[in-house]
């Protein structure tokens, strides 16, 4: 991207950048603060109670080894809640280890001679702790806090996965839309923020240091003025974060957390983290905004089917677009149903019974998995159906999404149905899969049938001649309670029923993925083009 357009790109998103930075600072600040409140006492206990030391450090250490995404998923399952709460808990748990360990190390490092003197002149155990041990361990403890804060800034980027906002939101969106600029818009400020946070704590540590300032009167004067400023820096930073959040949160459309929108006049729409979902989310949001008085809160880009589903179940979101095939196999754990209408009836019935949620009428397209090869290969090796792969699968490298590799309606079932045995199967990010096949790093991918990049990258989907893949018709899933409170939503969302066929969805996806238009702009253009935004007479 040329310099000018990059500046335009950033300045256009500046309000949101402030908002996300504010959220990021609040996530980091709150979790580091909690880790300090919990970690320092734990470190003191570990130092004083010898038998507690091993187990405590062990447990805190194990917490640290849990992969961040797994931690978020576990907390999500535990709390049945998306958003800031599980994110802050996860970040707090990660921040514990450096703080506990450094507190322990600091306390153990206090010179025995000093401790004996403290005892010998008649300090009580508590006085020794507050007057001698903690002050002398302070540099070590603060070093631990710095590590914890920097780690938190880094891990906080993952919180966007569960709708907790922060700079990770840009990264997530960038990954979903394969948009490098968006990724950088999140990643660069996050890196800078890590440096600033670290620096601010270092500055306050300098201000706390009790050494005489040597040198000229002038330097002493500078010292005196700078000290309180330096001391307050971390607090100033957090306050600035809150301020950025609050001031931008109202002007920008969708702050991730804050004044809870769980009231009767707001509809919270969730989506998974890929282009099609973002477009569907925008289509529904703009329709609701145009035809009702309800406020729409966009909680887009949640990290996958399970996160959307549990958010819906717990009432964190009110509706999101889901696919019949996915609901049947991944959520209801049933066998796939080949007939699209029967599949829709089944999920609708089961959702109403088990999750108090309703399936509305499908959008029209069927975003099934499409086993896809390069057009050139298809021509030269005469490939038209998946069965055609059977004979040559041993020479091919496959690149599948992690979800596809695991799901029963994915590779495990496919392999059995068609007797495929690829030379190599790699797990790839959905956004990177197309690039990988175009670059000849893999030969077969599990594309999505409606993905615009199939055409853009000159790929050829193979026909599912054995009818293995069930239909994946997309439709809005909405909480029954919300639908009963606002029955007009059904009518409004039905405006989208059967208006998006495979080709249309492919085109919309292509506009976003390859032409780098915003999902919201594409959605608006589409709705305007169809006259769907006009009020009914």
């Amino acid at each position: 991207m040329a310099g000018d357009s990059w500046i335009a790109f950033v300045s256009e998103r500046l309000p949101e950048l402030w908002l996300r930075t504010g959220e990021h600072l609040m996530l980091t600040g709150i979790s580091t603060g909690m880790a300090i409140l919990i970690g320092i006492p734990l470190g003191i206990c570990a130092a004083r109670i010898w038998w507690l030391r091993g187990p405590l450090i062990g447990v805190v250490g194990i917490l640290q080894t849990i992969p961040s995404l797994a931690m978020l998923a576990i907390l999500l399952a535990l709390f049945q809640k998306i958003g800031a709460t599980p994110a802050i808990i996860a970040l707090t748990l990660y921040a514990l280890l450096p703080i506990v360990r450094n507190t322990l190390t600091g306390l153990q490092g206090v010179s025995p001679a000093v401790l004996e003197a403290a005892r010998g002149i008649g300090m009580t155990s508590r006085q020794r702790l507050w007057l001698v041990e903690i002050p002398l361990s302070m540099p070590m403890i603060v070093a631990g806090i710095r590590t914890a804060a920097v780690v938190s800034v880094g891990i906080a980027t993952l919180s966007a996965f569960i709708g907790a906002g922060g700079l990770g939101q840009f990264i997530n969106r960038g990954l979903a839309l394969s948009n490098t600029d968006l990724i950088l818009l999140g990643a660069i400020p996050a890196a800078v923020l890590a440096l600033i946070v670290d620096g601010s704590i270092a500055a306050s540590q300098w201000a706390l240091r009790r050494k005489r300032s040597r040198g000229s009167r002038f330097r002493a004067a500078i010292d005196r003025t700078l000290r309180p400023v330096a001391l307050a820096l971390p607090v100033v930073l957090i306050v600035a974060g809150c301020f950025a959040y609050l001031s931008m949160g109202t002007s920008s459309s969708n702050p991730a957390w804050g004044p809870s929108a769980a009231n009767r006049h707001t509809v919270r729409i969730g989506t998974k983290n890929f282009t099609e979902q973002l477009i569907l989310g925008e289509l529904m949001a703009q329709l609701i905004e145009a035809h009702t008085d309800l406020r729409v809160e966009r909680r887009f880009n949640l990290g996958g089917t399970m996160i959307c589903h549990s958010a819906l179940k717990s009432g964190e979101i009110d509706l999101y677009p889901e696919y019949t095939g996915t609901a049947l196999t991944a959520i209801l754990k049933q066998f796939a149903i080949a007939d699209p209408d029967r599949a829709h009836e089944t999920v609708a019935r089961e959702y109403r019974r088990r999750f108090s949620a309703d399936w509305l009428r499908p959008f029209g397209f069927n975003n099934t998995y499409a086993i896809t090869v390069r057009k050139s290969d298809a021509a030269s090796r005469n490939l038209r159906t998946i069965s055609d792969l059977m004979a040559i699968s041993g020479t091919l490298r496959a690149g599948f999404t992690a979800e596809f590799s695991e799901r029963p309606d994915g590779y495990p079932g496919l392999r059995r149905a068609y007797g495929l045995q690829f030379r190599e199967v790699r797990d790839l990010d959905p956004g990177l899969m197309y690039q990988a096949i175009a670059n000849r790093e893999v030969d077969v991918i599990c594309a999505f049938a409606t993905d615009g990049r199939i055409a853009a990258f000159e790929l050829q989907p193979l026909r599912d001649d054995l009818g293995f893949f069930p239909p994946y018709q997309a439709a809005p899933v909405i909480r029954t309670e919300v639908l009963e409170t606002h029955p007009e939503l059904r009518q409004v969302l039905d405006l989208l029923a059967a208006v998006l066929d495979d080709a249309t969805m492919q085109r919309l996806n292509f506009e976003v993925d390859e032409k780098k238009h915003r999902p919201s702009d594409i959605a608006r253009k589409f709705l305007e083009g169809r006259g769907l935004l006009e009020k009914e007479k």
């Binding site: 001679a113 004996e116 003197a117 010998g120 002149i121 008649g122 007057l131 001698v132 005489r212």
Partner: protein, 252 residues
Amino acid sequence: MISLRHVSKSFDGGRHFAVDDVSFDVREGETLVLLGSSGCGKTTLLKLTNRLLEPTSGTIEVDGEDIAGQDPISLRRRIGYVFQGIGLFPHMTVAENVAMVPRLLGWPPPQRRERAHELLRIVGLDPKIYAGRFPEELSGGQQQRVGVGRALAADPAYLLMDEPFGALDALTRDTLQQELLALKERLKKTIIFVTHDIFEALALGDRIAILHAGRLEQIGTREEVLKKPATDFVRALFAKPAQQLAAYEGML
């Protein structure tokens, strides 16, 4: 007066005694030196006296009261202690170090400050220069002066000194010994002073208690221990430096 009656201390459940059935009195206003080589139990005796350690058997009385029944914290605040490792608090200024016991006793800050300055003058440090400094900015001798000041802060009747000058060079040690003698005259403290240095014992002690392997060999004035050694160990102890001194004078 401090009285020890049949005091024993074992760290290993009775197989070996660091202090073995020791009895003596420390009289009001005297300096009693505990003399012995390392491992003889002299530091252990000192720590038993302010309950940093508890005796395995025997009793210790301070001013006629058994210390076993007293609160160790308030006992320690009544007895000044100068430590072998000095043990100044490195994060506090000299004045704060000296005024620590008054602070623990709850004196108001202005009084603490005044007392700290007074004590610094007593131990020969100009408060204007040293009060605001940190321990690491001082020499070893100056640090131990602060250590002595800290021990004197709440004006205790007793002072326990555990090889306070052991780590200092010979000249500094000599100066501090002289000052301690002068100080003792002025402040009328009762002092138990632990050392392994025979000359220091002879220079400072009104009486000297010689310890060997946890047992008290002899207690008496310097004339008594020099002229009338009670055991072979005591005789040998003082014979050695006398030989060295003679050899040294021969060289001159």
